[in-house]
């Protein structure tokens, strides 16, 4: 399995602006019995996306025509709070998302996303509001996430810088495998163990 890579993406977005969307909503616990990462995209937001009888809920954004082909999710504040399940980014990536834009992400979700090539784009509330307004006017609004420059932009909006851990960014740009990086410290870890034995 190779490490995920990301450079730049221009894509349509969908909006799910509720605050505090927890990972139990992103992927409910009953789907955590998998022993691989396959098929989780179909269960993404399952309890909002499907009625009890399994039919799609037409009122939910992912079931609407405008969601087709979107690769960026514009989320509300504190997206990904709650459980540490990495199944959440696996499900988002499985559906086709490659970036999520929010004023704030929960810490564990943010870390998990970066390890799966899903870019957590943090922007200020005012910029977030501007993006929502632009998107409301144009459902096909193309949004560009440029990881090298660490900027996000859309037509009529100059690129806005977003903060991202420089190490994670470098790993994603170059396809560096974090486990491989950690293994290079085996000697130092051994020395640490000897000091603390």
């Amino acid at each position: 399995m190779s490490a995920p890579k990301f450079t730049t993406l221009t894509a349509r977005c969908v909006v799910l602006a509720n605050n505090d969307v927890d990972t139990d909503q992103i992927i409910p616990a009953r789907f955590l019995k998998v022993t691989d990462k396959l098929g989780l995209g179909e269960k993404l937001f399952c309890d909002w996306r499907y009625h009890d009888d399994g039919s799609p809920n037409p009122a939910f954004i992912l079931n609407q025509a405008e969601a087709k082909g979107a690769q960026i999710l514009v989320a509300g504040n504190n997206f990904g709070c709650g459980s540490s399940r990495e199944h959440a980014p696996w499900a988002l990536v499985g559906w086709g998302f490659q970036a999520v834009i929010s004023p704030m992400f929960a810490d564990i979700f943010k870390g998990n996303s970066l390890k799966n090539g899903l870019i957590p784009v943090v922007i200020q509330p005012a910029a977030h509001a501007a993006l929502l307004a632009a998107r409301a006017k144009n459902h096909d609004l193309p949004v560009t996430v440029d990881l090298r420059a660490s900027t996000v932009a859309w037509p009529g909006q100059d690129p806005i810088s977003f903060p991202i851990d420089p190490f994670s960014r470098a790993c994603l740009l170059d396809g560096v495998d974090e486990l491989g990086y950690l293994q290079k410290f085996a000697g130092q870890a051994q020395a640490y163990e000897a000091r603390h034995a």
Partner: protein, 473 residues
């Protein structure tokens, strides 16, 4: 005052940095890695793909808790659950990792058995693919949840790449009044700061109310740190901590014990050390707390009316409150006391230890669970279950009409078949009231074990202080 005063967090951090390259996160050494069936399969797969072994099986402990049945018998609820449990067993055997499997008389919820068996000790770094690893911070350790990729990193290298978090002191002073517990403290903290209030921070709980808590109470508080967005919550170790750890199976013994305690006494935050921020709470003014919404920060004192969306200025917050109340089928401005309840769940890594069961049983003794309520009591571990039975607590629960189960996560996460039906309302001593957390369409009110018992007896949300004062509620 020491020259370079440090917080408890800073001391443990500094003591575990193996290396740090410019621009990169620190390589942090992990003393204890707890593993369970749900978040480990894909991590073991990575090891297999790369031909790696678990580097330190002696620092790794596996348990089965999320999907296991609580009704006796040893069959998981479904085929996928069975496969996952068997896979953990196979992985543990292949890598020489100690496992508390289905037949273990000590198995239980990962955050209950870690401290119970003496694995959890002050000053340690402890991780698990589970956000409630914050629980272990009650011992003055740094415990936090990680994702499955990181589980693989720790299995293979015993190290983790980490950026240092900021610190937030949560100071709780004053004496709790009767009927008010550790659970009410943490629900009140969450109601104050919200579910994102601790993001980017590690909490250190300080103050006389925290010092006065027993270890179980401190675990309850630290457990729900993640519900405030903080990955870890810590309490400085003291004699209570050492007394709890002493003599447990995996605790140091003899001369090693004395050395360990001497080291642990150095851990508390130095005078003059500063935190990045501080939140305060007055314990004496607290009442029993309940949640009314769909995140753990949506809590109120049990005697208070539910908040009005119109009282919120921010449109997104207003919409969030409206959505939560609609899901819960609660009315803004109305009291939550008296809401009829279908299920009462006493269990989870927040409140399923012996002292929790004791407090609940003490209040329930001689009373009956209302006929309209199904009450389930699920001990946090088989050891807790045996100890409770030795004291006769099981009889009190059973005589009151409650269901007495085997240990596991059970209805906290509803992966094992124990779950709410759509629309049912539960009062639960667990930690998450997210939509559908306890079963699709189920509605959850989080509360203390005392409030859970009072509710079970009354058949509707009830204030435990009425029963404590001898009332029939």
């Amino acid at each position: 005052m020491s020259q370079n005063p440090k917080t408890l967090f800073q001391k443990i951090w500094d003591n575990h940095v193996v290396a740090e390259e410019p621009g990169a996160p620190a390589v942090l050494y992990i003393d204890l890695h707890l593993v369970h069936e749900v978040t480990s399969p894909q991590a073991f797969s990575v090891l297999k793909e790369r031909g790696l072994k678990v580097l330190r099986p002696d620092r790794t402990v596996a348990t089965m808790d999320h999907s296991i049945p609580t009704k006796g018998g040893y069959e998981a609820a479904d085929e996928m659950g069975r496969i996952q449990l068997r896979l953990l067993e196979a992985n543990a055997i292949a890598h020489g990792v100690r496992i508390y499997g289905l037949n273990s008389v000590q198995r239980g919820i990962v955050h209950v058995i870690g401290p119970e068996q003496g694995f959890t000790q002050p000053g340690m770094t402890i991780v698990c693919g589970d956000s409630h690893t914050s629980t272990h911070g009650a011992f003055g350790s740094l415990g936090f949840g990680i994702g499955t990729s990181e589980v693989g990193h720790v299995l293979a290298t015993q190290c983790l790449l980490q950026r240092k978090a900021r610190t937030c002191e949560v100071r709780v002073d004053g004496a709790l009044r009767p009927g008010v517990t550790a659970k009410d403290i943490i629900l009140a903290v969450l109601a104050k700061i919200g579910v994102g209030g601790g993001t980017g921070h590690v909490f250190e709980y300080t103050g006389s109310a925290i010092r006065a808590l027993d270890m179980e109470g401190r675990m309850t508080v630290c457990n729900m740190s993640i519900e405030g967005g903080a990955r870890a919550g810590m309490v400085a170790p003291d004699d209570k901590t050492f007394n709890y750890v002493a003599g447990r199976e995996f605790a140091p013994k003899g001369a090693a014990w004395d050395q360990a305690v001497a080291r642990w006494r150095q851990l508390p935050t130095d005078q003059g050390a500063s935190y990045d921020k501080t939140v305060t709470l007055d314990a004496h003014s607290l009442e029993p707390m309940v949640t009314f919404g769909t995140n753990p920060g949506q809590g109120v004192a049990i005697t208070q009316p539910l908040p009005l969306p119109s009282s919120l200025a921010d449109a997104a917050e207003r919409a969030g409150l409206e959505k939560s109340l609609a899901y819960m089928k609660f009315e803004a401005g109305k009291p939550i006391l008296g809401q009829p309840v279908d299920v009462v769940f006493l269990g989870s890594c927040t409140n399923s230890r012996l002292v929790d069961l004791r407090a609940a049983a003490h209040l329930l003794r001689g009373r009956k669970v209302a006929s309209s309520v199904k009450m389930m009591v699920v001990p946090g571990s088989q050891s807790v279950k045996q100890a409770a039975e030795a004291e006769g607590l099981d009889k009190i629960f059973k005589e009151a009409g409650a269901d007495w189960r085997e240990a596991g996560c059970s209805m906290c996460i509803a992966m094992n078949g124990d779950q709410l039906s759509p629309g049912q309302l539960a009062v639960s001593t667990s930690n998450r009231n997210f939509e559908g957390r306890q079963g699709k369409g189920g509605r959850t009110v989080l509360a203390s074990p005392l409030t859970a018992v009072a509710t079970a007896v009354a058949g509707c949300i009830a204030d435990p202080r009425v029963l404590l004062n001898g009332g029939q509620s």
